[in-house]
Amino acid sequence: MLLIRDVYGRLRFAVNIDRDSYPVSARAVLDAAAKELGAFATPGEVLFRDDFTDANALFGHEDWHQTLVPGVEKDDATFTPDIAIQLLDRQIVGQDWLHTDQPLVEGQVPRLVFYGLKGGVGRSTALAMLAYRLARDGKHVLLLDFDLESPGLSGLLLPPERVATYGLVDWFVEDSVGQGDDLLRDMIADSPLADNTTGAIRVAAAMGQGESAYLAKLARVYADVPTPAGSVRFATRMQRVVNLLEKHEKPDVVLVDSRAGLNDLAAISIAGLATVTLLFANDTTQNWQGYQQLFEHWQRRPNVLRHVRQRLAIVQALFPESDQAARAERFLQHSYDLFTNTLYDQIEPGTVTPLDAFTFDLGDQNAPHFPLRIRWSPRLQEFDPLVSVEKGGIGNTDIEAAFGPFFDEVIPLVFGK
C-alpha cells in the first residue's frame, strides 16, 4: 500500500496491482481509512494500476520517497512506533529539494553554491571576494547569478558598459522556444576585478545590458516546456544551462549566487547543482528555525539525507568584532544542536558508534556544523569591489583581514586538500 499526497495536500491510497487482483476486504479497509480522513483525503477511490494508462510511469516515479511518520504519544503515555511509508508528493513547486542524486560526471568542475535563508548576510560580497582571491591564485572563475528575483552580482562586479548582451533570464525565455543556445556566447562578461590578476572572473548575470523588460521575462522563466521527449521541467533546464556554460567556458570553479529563502531556485542549486553549499547564517532564532525546517524536510527522507548532508558547510556571516569568544561559542552550540537533531545519525547512548556513521563532536573542525567565519568590518559596509584603493576602495590587506580565514577554509573544501 502506498500513499499519494496530491497538489492540495490531500492523501489517497494507491496499490501497485490491478484492481481485480486486490482482495475486496483489503480494499474495504483502505476505503474506510480514506473516509476517516474526511477532507484530508482526495475524493475518489483507491487507485490501482488499471486507473492509469502508463502505470509504470506513476508507480516508478522518481519522486517516491520513503517517509518517516513519527510516532505519537497515546493517552496511556506510551508511544506508537515510527512508521516508514512510501509517499509520492505531487507538488507544483518544491520537489527539487529532494532531487539530490545528481549524477556526478567524471571531471566535474567544482560548483560552490552560496545560500542564505535570509538576504543581507553578506553572501554576494563573500562570493565576489572569493572570486577575486581565486583569480589572484590564477584560477578561471565562472560566476552565475541565479538570484533571479533580486539580481545584484553584475552590479557588484561589472561596470554597466561591460555587462553582456544577454542574461540568464533571456536564456530561459529563448530556450522555451528552442533557441536558447544561440545566446550562449553573448551571455558572459569579464569582470575588471580580475584585470590585474593571472586568472579571470567571468560573470553570467541575471539580466543583460540595457534590459527594459526584466519582469516580463522573469514571469516566464519557470515554465515547464513541451518537447518531443515530453515536458521538461524548470530544474532540468537550469541544470542544462549550467552544463552548457561550463562546456563553453571551461572554468576551474563555478560560484553560484543562489536565491535566499526556501524556494525552487535555491532547491535546485543546493540539491541538484552544488558540489559544496555554503549555508550563510547569523545567530538568530529565525535563522536556526528556518534551517531546522529545511533539514527536517530532508531528515524524513533517509535516502535524500545521505546524499545532501555531505555537501554542506555552515558560514557564520558578519561575525562581529566584539565579544568574539562568547559569540563564537554560542553560534557553534546552536549549529551543533541543529545538525545533531536533524542531519547527523542518531547514536543511542551506550551503543558503539559504527565506523561509517555520519556523526561529529562539537569541536570537530571538519564537521559541517563547524562554522567558517567571515569577520564583519565597518570598512565592508556598502563595499564596492570595483573602486580602487586610491579612490577610497578596499585593499588586499583589508580583504584578507576580513575574509582570509574564510578563504583558507573554503578553498580546500572546493579543490580538496
Binding site: D6, Y8, D51, T53, L88, R90, A219, V225, P226
Partner: protein, 201 residues
C-alpha cells in the same frame, strides 16, 4: 389627372396604417409572450421543480477518454487502423475536455460542457487542440504550463477529421495513425498526472 387615380390615394393610406397597426400589435404580443415565458421559467427554477427533474449525470470525459483509447489500442493491434485512428481522435478530445472541466469549465447537469454561451470548447480535434494549446490552466506562472507542456504534439491531429467516418478507407491518411497514437498517449499520460495530482477524480 384621371378621377379614379385621385380616389385611390386615401384607400392606400388606410391599408398602410392598418398594416402597421397589425405589425405593432403582433410585435407587442410576441414581446409579452416571451417575457411571460421567461417569468414562468424563473418561477419553475425557483420552485425547485427544474432541479427535481434534473437529468442524471451521463457525461464522464475522463472515463470516455480511457475507453476510446483502450478500444483504439485493441483495433490497432487487430490491424483495424481506420477506426483506431477515429478513436484516438475521440480519446484526445475527451481527455482535453476532462482537463477543461477539472479546471472549472462550466458544465450542464448532464456533465456535458455548457452549451450557452457558445464557447471555444464544444469542438472536435483538431480545433479543440488549438483552443487548448493557447490557454494556461492555472493562474500562477509557475504552474500554468504543467499540463499543457505534457502535450507537445496536439498538432498531430491537424489532418484528423471527425468526418473520416464517412470516408473511403483508401482515402484516409493512414500514415498519420502513428502520430495520432503518439499524441493520444500524451493526453493519456496527462490524465494520469492530473489524477495523481488530485486535480481530477
Amino acid at each position: 389627372m384621371p378621377r379614379h387615380a385621385r380616389g385611390k390615394r386615401p384607400v392606400r393610406k388606410y391599408v398602410k396604417l392598418l398594416f402597421e397597426f397589425c405589425a405593432g400589435a403582433l410585435a407587442f404580443a410576441l414581446r409579452e409572450l416571451r417575457a411571460w415565458k421567461q417569468k414562468l421559467i424563473q418561477k419553475i427554477q425557483r420552485s425547485g421543480v427544474g432541479r427535481m427533474q434534473a437529468i442524471a449525470r451521463q457525461f464522464d470525459f475522463k472515463a470516455a477518454a480511457r475507453r476510446h483509447h483502450h478500444d483504439a489500442e485493441l483495433l490497432r493491434n487487430e490491424g483495424r487502423g481506420a477506426n483506431a485512428g477515429q478513436l484516438y481522435g475521440f480519446a484526445a478530445e475527451c481527455g482535453l475536455k476532462a482537463l477543461m472541466v477539472a479546471h472549472g469549465l462550466p458544465t450542464e447537469p448532464s456533465g456535458d460542457i455548457r452549451k450557452r454561451p457558445r464557447g471555444n470548447f464544444r469542438k472536435h480535434m483538431p480545433d479543440l487542440g488549438q483552443a487548448v494549446a493557447t490557454i494556461t490552466l492555472f493562474p500562477d506562472g509557475r504552474a500554468a504550463t504543467r499540463y499543457v507542456s505534457m502535450l507537445p504534439d496536439l498538432s498531430h491531429f491537424n489532418d484528423w477529421s471527425v468526418d473520416h467516418r464517412y470516408w473511403m478507407e483508401a482515402m484516409l491518411p493512414s500514415g498519420s495513425l502513428q502520430n495520432w497514437h503518439a499524441a493520444a498517449l500524451q493526453v493519456s499520460a496527462m490524465l494520469d498526472a492530473a489524477t495523481a495530482d488530485g486535480v481530477m477524480v
